[in-house]
């Protein structure tokens, strides 16, 4: 006992630290990112996050693609909730164009966004629990995520890379059977969230591992550029759906959960409550879903329907012109932000009036959050670093772009 403590102190005096490399391919990084940790015993003295392993040059590619062609690239940003990226991007282009999409398209976008948020939070909370050792909770909730992907597949034809939105509306209307399937899913999901909470919220081991870990004050969180659940867990009630409503979010009744300490436990609580609020929003959308078009009635933006393209010459020319020459874009610059699962997902588009954007910038919500990693884990254990990393919900596709 005494020998042990002497050995530890000598190690500290000598400055004898050990370098441990976490990632780029590690089960807890959930993507490719690398953290170089300098350890004294098991305490983190210094950690240096390194990123860029998944850098595809999305912004560079966007400069050579037309506005519509960029949509599939947005799927690959936060691949846990790709529909929200689709919505965020098309929303920005619509702001540039100055068009308002039809009510039904707005409602479906809200519906799909909230389903995606649900799925994203399930991934984040479930995987965070797995990393800490609570494997059962993960299994209970994971089935619901599969159902969400089934719903996405039903609506968009794809499970992960949905590419569901189009500029001025949607790729297609919801298929028959989608609404009843969603209605069946909601109570199941609520039950699963209850089970998750039973397993975790009052679990003393979960408390030990998450409370007081990754503490951040509201002031620091703002200074670090936090947005989304991590900022709300720190006590700042900032939610773009309430603060700067878009897609008619002001007409839905929902609450914004806020934490107090910003630690991993608060982030967990905020995310769980947001899942319930998302279900609440989905119920309201389903109740008010009204029939109508899902694309704007503007031939300069919307492609003609396929049956017309195949049968009518004018529509074929119309289709050709829109694809080859692109839309007529105004000259200007816009920044449009939407509340994605991780926080504020912003798109800054500079248009010179050409077919392609002159400059397209993706503001990833998890980049500023991840940049605070070394301050969050300094003085904690490696196992705490894993908990913090999970609660930050760092998605490498979005981080590196």
């Amino acid at each position: 006992m005494i020998l042990d403590s002497i050995a530890l102190s000598r190690q500290q005096v000598d400055g004898d630290t050990m370098i441990v490399n976490l990632g780029p391919s590690h089960p807890t990084t959930h993507g490719t990112l690398r953290i170089i940790m300098e350890l004294s015993g098991e305490t983190i003295v210094k950690s240096t996050p390194e990123m860029g392993y998944l850098h595809r040059g999305v912004e560079k590619l966007g400069e050579s693609l037309s506005y519509q062609q960029f949509i599939p690239l947005t799927d690959r940003l936060n691949y846990c909730s790709s529909i929200m990226n689709n919505v965020g991007y098309t929303h920005a282009v619509e702001k540039l164009l100055g068009v308002e999409i039809p009510t039904r398209a707005q409602q479906i976008r809200v519906l799909m966004s909230e389903l995606a948020r649900l799925g994203d939070h399930i991934v984040c909370v479930g995987v965070n629990a797995v990393d800490i050792g609570a494997f059962t909770a993960f299994l209970y909730i994971w089935k619901q995520r599969e159902t969400i992907y089934d719903l996405f597949e039903m609506a968009t034809g794809q499970r992960l890379h949905t590419s569901f939105t189009r500029i001025g509306g949607l790729f297609r209307d919801l298929p028959e059977g989608f609404v009843p399937a969603t209605e069946r899913f909601l109570p199941e999901c609520e039950a699963a969230i209850d089970e998750l909470e039973k397993l975790l919220t009052h679990n003393p081991i979960w408390h030990d591992r998450t409370k007081g870990i990754g503490l951040i004050s509201a002031e620091d969180a703002v200074n670090w550029g936090y947005t989304g659940p991590c900022l709300r867990a720190a006590g700042v009630p900032q939610d773009l759906r309430k603060a700067q409503p878009y897609l008619g979010y002001e007409t839905y009744d929902f609450d914004v959960p806020v934490g107090t300490t910003g630690d991993v436990f608060d982030r967990y609580l905020v995310r769980v409550e947001e899942m319930r609020q998302s279900i609440r929003i989905i119920r309201q959308v389903l109740a008010r879903l009204e029939p109508g078009p899902v694309n704007v009635d503007d031939p300069k933006i919307t492609l003609p329907t396929k049956d017309k393209v195949y049968t009518r010459m004018e529509s074929l020319i119309h289709h050709f012109k829109l694809i080859m020459h692109g839309m007529e874009m105004p000259v200007g610059e816009v920044y449009s932000a939407t509340e994605a699962a991780n926080g504020e997902l912003g798109f800054y588009i500079v248009s010179d009036g050409g077919k392609n954007p002159y400059r397209i910038r993706v503001r990833p919500p998890c980049l500023p959050i991840f940049s605070s990693f070394h301050e969050q884990v300094k003085g904690f254990m490696i196992a705490d670093a894993v908990a913090v990393l999970g609660a930050m919900n760092v998605i490498a596709g979005e981080l590196d772009r």
Partner: protein, 162 residues
Amino acid sequence: MIIEHIDAELPGTVTDRHAFRGDQTIVVAKASFLPLVDFLYREGFQLLVDITAVDWPERDPRFDVVYHWLNLASQERLRVKVAVADGEAMPSLTSRFKTADWFEREVFDLFGIPFEGHPNLTRLLTWQDFPGHALRKDFPLDGGDAFCMEGCTAPYNNGERG
């Protein structure tokens, strides 16, 4: 609203302004940038949402460094643009906004705009010996050579190519 405040408090700072689709943009000279940031911070623009840049190769000065601020109390957004020439340094905001650290590193990495006073101005997304700056308009889309090793001085193969 904030722009009128800036005009009243720091006259002559705003050299150009426009509003497009509800976004307010001001253009300021580099010399008056830091006092403006101090003023914005005091006025409640404490969330530095984003730092990025736009390359205009035909223009002089060549780059626009673009800052986005959000006022959490009034939910007002402001875009500030500063024009800098190739090789000219921008003052770093890291002492005031911790979030500026990585954003500035990213702009440095992808555009080659240095930030004066940054504690650790190294590349963020590409590796340290990456040749050129990927988001400049004259950087080829395919990266030029397949392995981007042109002009590489890396310790790979003891500094020898091949």
